[in-house]
């Protein structure tokens, strides 16, 4: 027996109220997540901060009034570690405007903060991408293959996890030599076990699902099963982890630079700017305040955004 759509609605409404939504066009997982994300204020705040930072990094040459490494001795009448001068806040017009002041090498702090966002964001994104790709590949192989391959790979990850992350990063940079590229590598190495373990757990759970078994029964290759059936379904927690990981990576890079192992002079990097002026915390607080605030805002932005994404992507939190 066949019934019309209208009749069916009438019949079902009698039983269960408004069910028109049963016939709406199905909404995809990601679209649903985006819809849920939009509803989370903290996540949106984080997104705004991150987008703002990305815009600052992209348009740094337009925003920064000076080159980040330009020494202003003989260029302007400014002194070493001069405090911020903002004309609208009462700073005399004849004094050059430097809204975040002048650093110990007579450079404009605001310009260095602006250009520093490029370094931090680049470092955060590349570190996480590297760790995500390598870590999740290891995790996927480990979880799908099992046996001795799983044992070996996971024990290697356990060894890396056994060290405090910053200490291990310092050791790696000590071997490779200081510099941003090596700091990036070091942070990627110390963070990849997290991605590997999460991916492995996901693969272990997903590979027992019926659709994977069916795919295997239909003769799909291991590579095909992994790439088409398992990994796409395992990505959700990794995306959340990666977003939060950007914040961690930026923080660790700032830590390495603070210790002189990351960015090298004269590169404008927030951690190294903080380190260089740490002794001026009482006499010229603006020199540690602004880089500190920049690091804090960036980390806060990624953390809020990560939290929002976790909530949005977690089906158990569906409301």
């Amino acid at each position: 027996m066949t019934v019309s759509r209208k009749k069916a609605i009438e019949l079902l409404e009698d039983e269960a109220g408004d069910v028109t939504r049963l016939f709406e066009k199905p909404v995809g997982q990601w679209k649903l997540a985006l819809r849920r994300f939009r509803g989370r204020r903290s996540g949106m705040t984080g997104l705004f901060i991150v987008v703002g930072l990305i815009l600052v990094a992209l348009f740094a040459p337009l925003i920064a009034p000076y080159e980040p490494n330009e020494i202003l001795i003989g260029v302007e009448d400014v002194g070493r570690r001069d405090p911020p001068c903002i004309h609208v806040l009462g700073c005399p017009d004849e004094t050059p405007q430097h809204i975040m002041g002048i650093d110990g090498n007579v450079r404009d702090v605001f310009s260095r903060i602006v250009y520093g966002s490029r370094v931090s964001l680049t470092l955060g994104f590349f570190t996480v991408t590297l760790a995500l790709v390598v870590g999740s590949t290891i995790g996927a192989i480990s979880g799908y293959a099992g046996g001795w391959i799983d044992n070996i790979l996971m024990r290697i990850m356990d060894v890396i996890l056994g060290f405090p992350s910053l200490l291990l990063a310092i050791a790696i940079v000590a071997v490779l030599g200081p510099g941003l590229r090596n700091a990036l590598l070091a942070i990627a190495i110390v963070t990849l076990p997290g991605y590997a373990r999460v991916m492995r757990a996901q693969v272990l759970a997903i590979k027992e699902n019926d659709y994977v078994t069916a795919s295997r029964a239909l003769g799909s290759s291991t590579r095909e099963i992994l790439l088409k059936r398992i990994i796409p379904n395992a990505l959700t927690p990794l995306v959340v982890l990666a977003t939060l990981g950007v914040a961690t990576a930026i923080l660790e890079a700032a830590g390495l630079s603070f210790l002189g192992l990351g960015a090298q002079p004269p590169d404008a990097e927030w951690g190294s700017m903080l380190a260089r002026e740490r002794n001026q915390v009482f006499t010229s607080p603006h020199l540690v305040f602004f880089p500190g605030i920049a690091i804090m805002l960036t980390v806060l932005g990624f953390n809020l955004m990560g939290d929002g994404m976790r909530d949005a992507l977690d089906p158990t939190l569906n409301r």
Binding site: G260, P265, N279, T283
Partner: protein
């Protein structure tokens, strides 16, 4: 020749003994000889039966080894005699340096020549404890032969950050601090509870260029760097009041320091022309190395390095990367002349003589800037043995001009240095030479607390070079002479060291009644054995901390039996 010299020395010693004791001593001399082919060992002992004192001797076996000391003999319990290979007009100023502190011979033997954390001296304080990572606690020596401290305890602590040291001072938990940050100086001056004390230390900050590494093996490149850096800008921007741009390596407060042509003017065009001549008109890549250690001569190393980096790029198109090196590694590697780029280093005078600056950097045995230049080292060697400063002046002028021509380094600044203290501490001072004499500081309390910028390397300063070790050691161990707080040299453990006419023999009478902290009496053998530990490389006491014995090596022109 050697035997004649020995005979003369022996006869001189004999004559003194006769004069001192009134009768003829029956000497017994024991000489130990090594196996054929090896060098003769250097200790002999002379027995004075009148006092049953067996005087120790440090004998170099002649002056062929190239060093300055021929023999050091304990003539009697209270007299030592230094016989030098050549005249040394700076002798008293040199032996006043803290590394030549005297410890009991028995203690040196008991510790195998390495009393690294348990020195025994005669100074105004005795060591109570060294709490590693935190503090050194010293107790006042109530039997001290000089002014006894009014407080019972001296605590020397350390904090590497100048902000931390200032905070301790402002909080009242420190009575004094070293190396206040340049930016902190106005804060201290404005605080009525604190006092800023100028430390008139002669020093030099320079950019070292090791002439054996390309491209700095080309004199034109070195001269280009010498003219292409605006040194005045560095001094104006990064140095405290009282600092000046250096026209010579040695500060002009020292006699004969500033003879000859002053340093090049800042002239970018001339510098570029020199680089063009050298085929490096497009610039080159190099490295600027420094150590992150607070020193009066370089108060903000990282900032200065960054400015030099910027000037090299802007003025000469030289791309320099900056490399911070761990402090002791930096000193070791720069001393060996291993650095292929520019190294930022400086020198704070140890004793008031021009030799302390020039000979220690450009002498014939110094390799810090690569192979020494004969036209620098030669005049310096000649001048160092001339007693009359006027007679020595032309040689120092020659050396200064040769330094200017060869540019093994670029002198940048002579810096003002400071110590900060609580206001109202009687006797608070910061001497130009040597260490602070804390026994003269009266804070009206039982304990005096001083913060320096790093932990001592060890407390056996015969084999240390860092000021942090020497400051602590100087409270415990004393030398034959010492520096006054005004900067003069005065007798210390010796009541007098009298030279012969040509300044090659110095006879030192020890101060009577001086005892070590362990209660033993100071005698001449303690002096000989303390010097033997430092100077005689074959002595079982020549152990030390680092094994480099830098100051013994350079002040005495080389170690005995070092080959």
């Amino acid at each position: 020749m050697k035997s004649t010299m020995r005979l003369l020395v022996f006869l001189a010693a004999l004559a003194l003994l006769v004069a001192a004791c009134g009768d003829t001593p029956a000497e017994e001399t024991t000489t130990t000889t090594a196996a054929p082919g090896e060098e003769t060992t250097t200790t002999t002992e002379a027995t004075d039966p009148g006092t049953s004192f067996e005087g120790a001797v440090l004998d170099s076996g002649g002056c062929d080894y190239g060093g300055k000391l021929n023999t050091l003999t304990a003539l009697d319990a209270n007299t030592v005699e230094f016989v030098l290979c050549k005249p040394d007009p700076a002798f008293l100023a040199e032996i006043a340096f803290g590394v030549f502190g005297i410890q009991p011979a028995e203690h040196l033997e008991a510790t195998g020549g390495a009393p690294l954390d348990n020195p025994i001296g005669t100074g105004p304080y005795a060591l109570d404890s060294w709490n590693r990572g935190d503090s050194v606690v010293l107790s006042t020596n109530s039997d001290y032969w000089g002014p006894v401290a009014t407080h019972d305890t001296l605590v020397i602590k350390w904090a590497t950050e100048s902000a931390s040291r200032l905070l301790e001072l402002q909080a009242g938990t420190a009575d004094g601090i070293t190396f206040p940050g340049v930016a902190d100086l106005p804060v201290i001056e404005a605080d009525s509870n604190l006092e800023l004390i100028a430390k008139p230390e002669p020093n030099i900050f320079y950019m070292g260029l090791t002439v054996t590494h390309p491209p700095f093996d080309d004199e034109r490149v070195r001269q280009a760097v010498a003219q292409g850096i605006d040194r005045q800008r560095i001094v104006d921007t990064f140095y405290p009041p009282g600092s000046e741009t250096a026209d010579f390596f040695t500060p002009c407060t020292l006699t004969n320091a500033c003879g000859g042509e002053p340093w090049y003017d800042f002239d970018v065009d001339a510098a570029k022309a020199l680089l063009e001549d050298a085929g490096l008109g497009d610039g080159f890549d190099t490295v600027i190395r420094y150590r992150q250690v607070d020193r009066g001569y370089l108060p903000t190393p990282a900032d200065v390095a960054a400015d030099i980096q910027a000037q090299l790029k802007a003025n000469l198109n030289i791309d320099a990367t900056i490399e911070e090196v761990e402090s002791s590694q930096f000193i070791d590697e720069s001393n060996q002349g291993l650095y292929d780029g520019i190294h930022l280093l400086g020198w704070t005078g140890d004793y008031p003589h021009v030799t302390n600056f020039l000979d220690g950097h450009f002498g014939k045995t110094i390799t810090q800037f690569g192979a020494p230049f004969d036209d620098i080292a030669g005049p310096l060697e000649t001048a160092a043995s001339i007693a009359d400063p006027d007679e020595a002046a032309p040689f120092y002028e020659q050396a200064n001009n040769a330094i200017r021509q060869h540019v093994p380094m670029v002198p940048v600044s002579h810096s003002g240095a400071f110590v900060a203290a609580q206001a109202g501490i009687d006797g608070a001072h910061a001497p130009p030479w040597g260490h602070i004499q804390f026994n003269l500081w009266d804070n009206g309390k039982d304990t005096l607390v001083f913060f320096q910028n790093a932990e001592p390397g060890s407390l056996y300063c015969a084999d240390e070079t860092d000021g942090e070790s020497l400051r602590v050691c100087g409270q415990i161990v004393e030398a034959l002479y010492r520096y006054t707080i005004e900067g003069d040299v005065e007798p210390g453990l010796a009541s007098e060291c009298a030279p012969n006419d040509d300044l090659t023999v110095w006879t030192c009478s020890l101060r009577e009644g001086v005892t070590f902290h362990d209660g033993s009496a100071l005698d001449a053998n303690d002096v000989v054995m303390s010097y033997t530990a430092g100077l005689d490389a074959s002595s079982p006491l020549h152990t030390g901390s680092t094994g480099s014995w830098v100051y013994y090596d350079y002040i005495f022109g080389g170690l005995i039996n070092a080959g």
